[in-house]
Amino acid sequence: MPQLPAVINGPAPLSWYLILSAVLFALGVAGFLFRRNIITVFMSIELMLNAVNLSFIAFSYKLGRNDGHIFSFFVMVVAAAEAAVGLAIILTVFKNRQTLEIDEVSSLKN
């Protein structure tokens, strides 16, 4: 790692990172709630997971241990598995209904 000269090393408060994480998480929630395209909804979930990862890494920095990195690694793996299955499910839905509008996928209920 090349080291930058100390002069231009201005630290950023840790809470900024956490706030950024919260903002992204909230955006993800908003996307989940307000969007109607199934894939976009799913991507909003991924955004939430990313926000969580940022929190993990930031906390890891604060605690000076790398557990948080491990956790976000697991989160990534899980997200990958989730994406594989989720997109497969979305494909089956699309195959049977020809639509990705979440409101139109509602044949159940009475």
């Binding site: 979930i45 906390f59 697991f74 989730e82 044949s107 009475n110």
Partner: protein
């Protein structure tokens, strides 16, 4: 390579059930690839054997209790109880689906492999002692469940169930994770015991934040146990998924989710129990009310059972609200009784629904008592148990829960819960009425008699339901001894 790099053999013993389940799952996938179509009947027995082995494995694992893998999991009575429970649920699911899959022209090893993997995930959840393991276990169980819910991929109902289950489930998981992140940040650990220590120590992090983190985690758990207001997925999923899968979903993942809920909230968040109790109180009440009052209006039996399972989650939440050892024991017993009862009900529904699940209206059960008195009697037992009539497991479950609640001075919650259970009687009775007091619809095609495996599942569930109602002592004593703290 240092010798300490490899965990001790006792530690492997402690995850024996998971190892066995995974091995059998992989074996099934292997045979799926190499066997001819004609030989595919062996999958169900193979899966059953795997689950049986896991059952034995859990008991063997209980022979050497303790934490393993750096405290990631812990094998204790509590874990063993839930392990046995989820494995039994898997076993029932295998029995109930063998015939179903042939009926729907979808025989295949994947189904059983997924059940085994899902059970493995639940088993991990049962014994997890660390938030990350909880999370991964939860995901293993959930992702397998998503697939199972949409297993008949040409059926739009299945697709929809899988989609909703998946989207809302992942959404909830994100909340859970965010909560975990904050707990990690605040307490510096994800080990439940360590969190407990951190929260009870002098310099505990601000309650507002721990509370917020706990609430975030509860959102995640709440989704999995279908607690109000996070229950919205359950009716659609249970209605849309294949009937045996619905049965499995309403039992296995739910029990495991409760296991981690109880373990997390009573171990890790035990020191702040007084602060989360009011929230849990409201949630329990809302869950019961939503479940029961929505169930009354249903005409589809799967949907009705879905709402009923929401209501039952509400009852268990009462026990969780009690935040005591008796509460935990009551929840354990209730979940055991509920598991067999509810699965049995779904198994009968599986049978009556017939090919393509065309007969899932409550009215389709008309005259079942005449056509197949045995099945009708079993369903009657299950429904009575769900109502909470004595000599069934459901009764003792409710009894212990309300007892635990009163122990913790939750008088009003108890009374409201009891009134709720009286309301619930109404919609269960409707099914009984239709079965026993209405004549079969002439238009309905004849109902073939059930195959041996399904019968085994139904009658087995009924026997356990009755056993838990007549001689609850054994299970209850174990639960009492095993309950946390």
């Amino acid at each position: 390579m240092p010798a300490s790099f490899f965990p001790a053999s006792a530690e492997y013993l402690r995850i024996l059930p998971e190892i066995l389940l995974t091995l059998f799952g992989v074996a099934i996938m292997f045979f799926e690839a190499v066997l001819s179509e004609a030989r595919k009947r062996i999958f169900a027995p193979l899966a059953a054997a795997g689950l049986g082995a896991a059952l034995v494995g859990s008991i063997v694992a209980y022979g050497s209790p303790g934490a393993a893998f750096h405290g990631m999991i812990i094998v204790d009575g509590f874990a063993t109880f839930f392990r046995v429970l989820v494995v039994a649920a898997g076993l029932l699911a295998v029995f109930a689906s063998a015939e179903y899959l042939w009926r729907e022209n979808h025989p295949g090893g994947e189904f059983y492999a997924l059940i085994l993997f899902s059970v493995a995930g639940q088993s991990i959840m049962a014994s997890a002692n660390e938030l990350i393991v909880i999370f991964i276990g939860l995901e293993i169980s959930s992702i397998a469940s998503y697939i199972l819910a949409g297993y008949l991929r040409d059926d739009p109902r299945n697709n929809e169930a899988a989609l909703k289950y998946f989207l809302l489930g992942s959404f909830a998981t994100a909340f859970l994770l965010y909560g975990v992140a904050w707990i990690y940040g605040l307490t510096g650990s994800t080990n439940l015991e360590a969190i407990r220590l951190a929260l009870s120590a002098g310099g505990a992090p601000p309650l507002l934040l721990t509370g917020a983190a706990a609430a975030l985690m509860f959102v995640g758990f709440g989704f999995k146990i279908s607690a109000a207001p996070f229950q919205i997925w359950a009716p659609d999923v249970y209605q849309g998924a294949p009937a045996p899968v619905s049965g499995f979903l309403s039992v296995g993942p739910k029990a495991a989710a409760f296991a981690i809920l109880i373990r997390t909230f009573e171990t890790a968040f035990g020191p702040i129990a007084h602060d989360w109790q009011p929230l849990m109180w409201v949630c329990a009440l809302a869950t019961m009310i939503v479940g029961n009052f929505a169930a009354i209006q249903q005409s589809n039996i799967k949907r009705m059972l879905a709402y009923s399972s929401i209501a039952h989650a509400g009852y268990v939440l009462i026990a969780v609200t009690a935040a005591s050892q008796t509460g935990a024991a009551a929840a354990m017993f209730y979940l055991a009784a509920y598991a067999f009862t509810n699965f049995g009900a779904f198994a009968v529904v599986t049978h009556v629904a017939r090919k393509g699940e065309r007969y899932v209206k409550i009215d389709d059960f008309a005259g079942l008592a005449r056509r197949q008195p045995g099945m009708a009697a079993m369903l009657a037992i299950f429904l009575l148990s769900l109502i909470g009539v004595p000599l069934t497991g459901g009764f003792f479950g409710k009894f212990y829960i309300f007892k635990a609640a009163l122990d913790s001075n939750l008088v009003w919650l108890t009374v409201l819960g009891l009134l709720n259970s009286a309301v619930a009687a109404y919609y269960y009775l409707r099914v009984l009425v239709v079965m026993y007091m209405k004549d079969p619809d002439g238009a309905a095609e004849s109902l073939p008699s059930a195959g041996p495996a399904l019968k085994l599942a139904v009658y087995g569930s009924a026997i356990v339901t009755l056993l838990l109602g007549i001689l609850p002592g054994f299970v209850l004593d174990f639960a009492n001894r095993a309950a946390l703290r």
